[in-house]
């Protein structure tokens, strides 16, 4: 139990990068970008092929980020210069990327077992210093059975994700960031203040897909393989994370929202891993579970709201009736 939740937490932190990318496109730019399914794999594929050919995993990961950025830019160009509707631009790019990803990999699956990844070197340094021991002793002291193999991956991923989060927070408050947000909020307005909204959309989608590709590259190195089909449904997982996070943790400020998105990604992973422990559900049901989680996350707040509203009305009605009753009694007493 603990081990599987730990694993979910670990991968949730990595998937959170993808969710931050989805937050940038869907929420900040108000652009429903479906490139994600493709660019996630592009990141994984680029990193995997470079690592397989003996490149340093850090160089490979940076190359993946650049590849994702370019993919996002192309979606942006399709939309702004080609005047293609946002959904369609993303779908076209997603389809195109499927073939491109196959080309990058040269085969449909690249195993990375036994290769040096960004995680292996850090994990061995971490374990040599025996840094997992204190955490494990805390876990056993709490009486939880089972200890994870290493804490290095969790902390390393957390640091990367938090760095990206802080960069995003900062960026969205810069002059360019403000203009990108305004492009999603009121495009006509920001254009009347001399902002080139086409370029801003292209850059925004580039950054968004760069994050997605970074996530893909890390997931490939974490899971030990890149597969051409690993991005299917990724956009829904990203959306689920954004929606769950926003609903649970709020959106008061940007810093709060990006934190919420990370939280949403982790919670999504935990819910899925718990659901998979239910006996009659199997791995193939993942996508169905995802759909149900997203629907629940979308519908529940509305139901809660309308219930709260109904209770408020009932209370109001009771107050009015009570007041009328008292009024009547007073009059009776007077006569």
């Amino acid at each position: 139990m603990f081990i599987s939740i730990f694993g979910a937490f670990e991968s949730g932190i990595i998937y959170a990068l993808m969710a931050l990318g989805v937050y940038l496109s869907f929420r900040v730019l108000d652009f429903p970008d479906l490139t994600v399914d493709g660019s996630f794999v592009t990141g994984a594929a680029t990193a995997a092929i470079l690592i397989m050919n003996g490149q340093s995993p850090f160089v490979a990961t940076i190359a993946a980020v650049i590849a994702g950025f370019l993919a996002g830019c192309i979606t942006g160009i399709l939309h702004t210069k080609g005047k293609i509707n946002p959904l369609l631009s993303g779908i076209l790019m997603m389809i195109a990327l499927y073939s491109i990803n196959l080309r990058i990999m040269g085969q449909s699956n690249i195993p990375l077992l036994g290769k040096t990844t960004i995680f292996t070197s850090i994990t061995s340094a971490w374990e040599n210093a025996n840094l997992s021991a204190p955490f494990n002793s805390v876990v056993s002291a709490l009486g939880i059975p089972g200890t994870p193999k290493t804490w290095a991956i969790l902390f390393f991923s957390l640091i990367i994700t938090l760095i990206i989060k802080f960069i995003t927070d900062y960026f969205l408050k810069t002059e360019m960031g403000l203009a990108i947000r305004a492009t999603g909020d009121n495009e006509k307005m920001i254009r009347s203040f001399s902002a080139n909204t086409d370029i801003l959309i292209i850059i925004g989608l580039g950054i968004s897909n760069a994050f997605v590709a970074l996530s893909g590259a890390m997931i490939a190195q974490h899971g030990g393989f890149a597969d051409v089909g690993m991005g299917i449904g990724m956009i829904i997982i990203g959306l689920a994370s954004v929606i769950i996070g926003e609903a649970l943790f709020g959106t008061k400020t940007i810093a709060r929202t990006t934190l919420a998105v990370i939280g949403g990604a982790v919670i999504y992973r935990i819910v899925v891993s718990l659901a998979l422990r239910v006996d009659f559900l199997e791995t193939g049901d993942m996508k169905l579970i995802t759909a149900v989680i997203v629907i629940a996350a979308l519908v529940t707040p509305k139901i809660l709201d309308s219930q709260r509203e109904r209770r408020r009305r009932l209370r109001k009605k009771a107050e009015v009736e009570l007041a009328a009753l008292e009024e009547g009694e007073k009059r009776n007493a007077a006569t």
């Binding site: 002059e175 403000l178 203009a179 947000r181 305004a182 009121n186 307005m189 009347s192």
Partner: protein, 264 residues
């Protein structure tokens, strides 16, 4: 400063919906001129504004700002020179962003947008000073979302955002039309104040004749895509609503007569 020569624009040419929105429009404004524009619905006033701002490109004719042609300069580039306030109070601001963030975006109008923080301490002070001049207490609500402001407050903010970088030209298209009379009054007086303060070359469309007479130093009347009446500074001083209406009837009558003559 601003010049329009022989501007023609027809919508949906050659179809059933063909609409001659602008026909042979000439305009020449000097620096600091404040032009008010009146005319019935569909006269082409907004189209004229859109031609100047670059949202629309004329079929023929050209637009010059400070002597250099901008007819085909893209809207966002031209926006460095032109401030705009729209009729819809929702249109001029980004509702989900804060007052200070909106001001910061407006402040970057004629600067490169880079990776420096949009709202710095120094800018905050500057924004506060400017907001104080509106007398709406907005200077104490810098971090409030603009979506929470009333229509009048938003329009005042839009006006400030459009003007405080001192653009070469200010376009106001019925910017008080969506407000209640007292708010409209307030925005009108703010407009007069701000235009005077920055000595902006201004074009203002309005359906309020009194407003058109009270404000500015020049007035034009538009009808069916043409400027049918052009009043200069001295004439404008002793113009009244009544004279304006009479003039309109007279020109209309003449025009109808001449149309009849042409049509036989």
């Amino acid at each position: 400063m601003l010049q329009l020569n022989q501007v023609f624009l027809t919508f949906n040419e050659g179809t059933m919906d063909e609409k001659k929105a602008l026909q042979d429009v000439h305009l020449d404004l000097k620096r600091g001129d404040f032009l008010t524009i009146i005319g019935s619905n569909g006269a082409g006033k907004s189209t004229l504004m859109n031609i100047i701002s670059g949202s629309l490109v004329p079929d023929t004719g050209n637009v010059l700002i400070d002597g250099s042609p901008v007819t085909h300069l893209q809207e966002y580039k031209r926006a460095q020179l032109i401030g705009r306030v729209f009729q819809d109070p929702m249109a001029g601001t980004a509702p989900s962003m804060t007052i200070e963030e909106n001001l910061a975006m407006a402040w970057s109008r004629n600067k490169k947008r880079g990776l420096k923080p949009g709202v710095s301490k120094k800018r905050k002070e500057l924004f506060k000073e400017h907001l104080e001049s509106l007398n709406l207490g907005l200077e104490d609500r810098l971090t409030a979302k603009v979506g929470l402001l009333s229509g009048g407050e938003r329009q005042a903010l839009s006006l400030l955002m459009a003007t405080f970088t001192e653009p070469k030209i200010l376009l106001l298209d019925e910017h008080t039309a969506a407000l209640d009379p007292s708010r409209a009054e307030l925005i009108t007086s703010l407009t007069a104040e701000i235009v005077d303060k920055f000595q902006l070359t201004t074009l203002m469309v309005t359906h309020n004749m009194q407003q058109a007479l009270d404000l500015g130093n020049r007035l034009i009347m538009m009808d069916k895509g043409q400027i049918i009446f052009d009043v200069d500074e001295t004439e404008k001083q002793n113009l009244t609503i009544e004279k304006l209406l009479n003039e309109f009837q007279r020109i209309r009558g003449e025009k109808m007569a001449s149309d009849k003559a042409v049509l036989g």
